[in-house]
Symmetry: C2
Amino acid sequence: MSDSAELVKRLLKGDRRAAAKLITLVENDNNGQSAKIMHLLHPHTKKAYIVGVTGAPGSGKSTLTDRLTHELRTKEKTVGVIAVDPTSPFTGGALLGDRIRMKESCTDKGVFIRSMGTRGSLGGLSRATNNAIRILDAFGKDFILVETVGAGQSEVDIVNSAYTSIVILVPGMGDDIQAIKAGILEIGDIFVVNKADRDGADRTVMELEMMLELNPKKNVWRPPIIKTIASRGEGVEELLSCIEKHRSYLESNNLLEKRQDCRNESELMDVLSYRINKYLLDDLKQSGSYTDLLKKICEQKIDIYTAADEILKILWKKS
Amino acid sequence: MSDSAELVKRLLKGDRRAAAKLITLVENDNNGQSAKIMHLLHPHTKKAYIVGVTGAPGSGKSTLTDRLTHELRTKEKTVGVIAVDPTSPFTGGALLGDRIRMKESCTDKGVFIRSMGTRGSLGGLSRATNNAIRILDAFGKDFILVETVGAGQSEVDIVNSAYTSIVILVPGMGDDIQAIKAGILEIGDIFVVNKADRDGADRTVMELEMMLELNPKKNVWRPPIIKTIASRGEGVEELLSCIEKHRSYLESNNLLEKRQDCRNESELMDVLSYRINKYLLDDLKQSGSYTDLLKKICEQKIDIYTAADEILKILWKKS
């Protein structure tokens, strides 16, 4: 039996170290190991409920995730936490510090916490994160909290894996909230105004409410806005009850399955485009026509788009 | 004559509004307009010298870019500035504020400034940025400064377009510098310790020096470390002279051409993979085998990687 098959067996029996090792394997993804692992795991997945937690740096994501984990544990739910930080080349270490803060959860066997940073490309990170979610799903966690630094499109992609997405804001952003509305309104199922003891909390809530009024997309599920003070645990019980309400809403409208299908489709497209790019890189670069065209580009005899069209004609055998 | 052909004609005559409009067109990239524009422009490019400026939020990138622009203007060089902010969905407006700060340059006809944020995917942003660089190149700017928030892999990709990459650090990062070394050492041709009047500036310089000693990659060009106080313009003249030194180094070792070729190759791969993905999305989704396999995934009869292999077999007609 291969190494990964042995690890999957141990994972399904509840072995924490196997879980950790499998996540490392999908992170590195050497020799197509992710494919092998996902092939073995897939019959054991689709049980966990996936919650995304996103917000700008300093919004209190980790503290809120910690409190939410605690709240879920008091209800005897097991929890997996995946903290994704695509900014690691420049802010590296921040999340690790956050994780140390999450002391309470660390000694609890019902909780599994893992940080993931950028190794290689952002695409690689989102694929690895999706695979890590599946590993913790097969590991038997009831809830998986995916915490991401809200810093761009790739996080939005990762958040899209979640069934319920929580977007955290903090008071005092002022008029900036207008500028960001396009991005956050689309991904949030629940909005949290954290650090609600700060000046301007009510104004932030009001501005959010106004923006949600104007948003035509969310006409069925109206995203609730909750005030929390995560550092003191205030509002976290209400947040969890909103998550449960959103879950019921999805389930009773057949939307949970739809979200799962969307997630499957976007992961399939992701793996496909990754593999095709790999073929491109590995095979195409060997071909004479590629080398010729690249040379022509460098000599400024042809532009990049025209060259790409030529290559695609050869690849697709289209005329 | 088509709209874009007319705009390109005006651009080549020095029309600022044509430059702005063309950049908007490549940003939106409707109906393959980027391809058309790049096809028309390519004979007029490859003249500008491209400098990347990257650093964490708050490191003083914009101020430094502004001062560097000013310094280049005193030497009668024309300058294009492209400020890239992939974090726009969450921090939107920051760069705009920065740009307003750059008052001095705004009224100068030798300077062209443009901010670019995420519209759609990160891949789209890096493609649009590369095309914007080519537009300002054809527009006749001597130097193009590409300023990016140092927040992840995609910026690293964008910075890779530059011939000389400047990485900005600020004092007081302490031990964190160890954590980030992998990312920054690889991309920096010149390191700037900005806000050098702060405590710990010398320590940051020392730590950087130690890391550069250990780094085996940069054994030919030893990246200089410069202390600046951008807000007062201190160290900016020295920075420019380092850029010139690095440029001479590249030119006298035939490395500039190599960097240009690399840039061409990575842009070609980018356009290729984008187009292939587009074909996948547009054509593949129509095919019966795709729909069948997706259904099987959703019913948990097959895993994503196995399904991807099946689809690729059909696509590539491999067995």
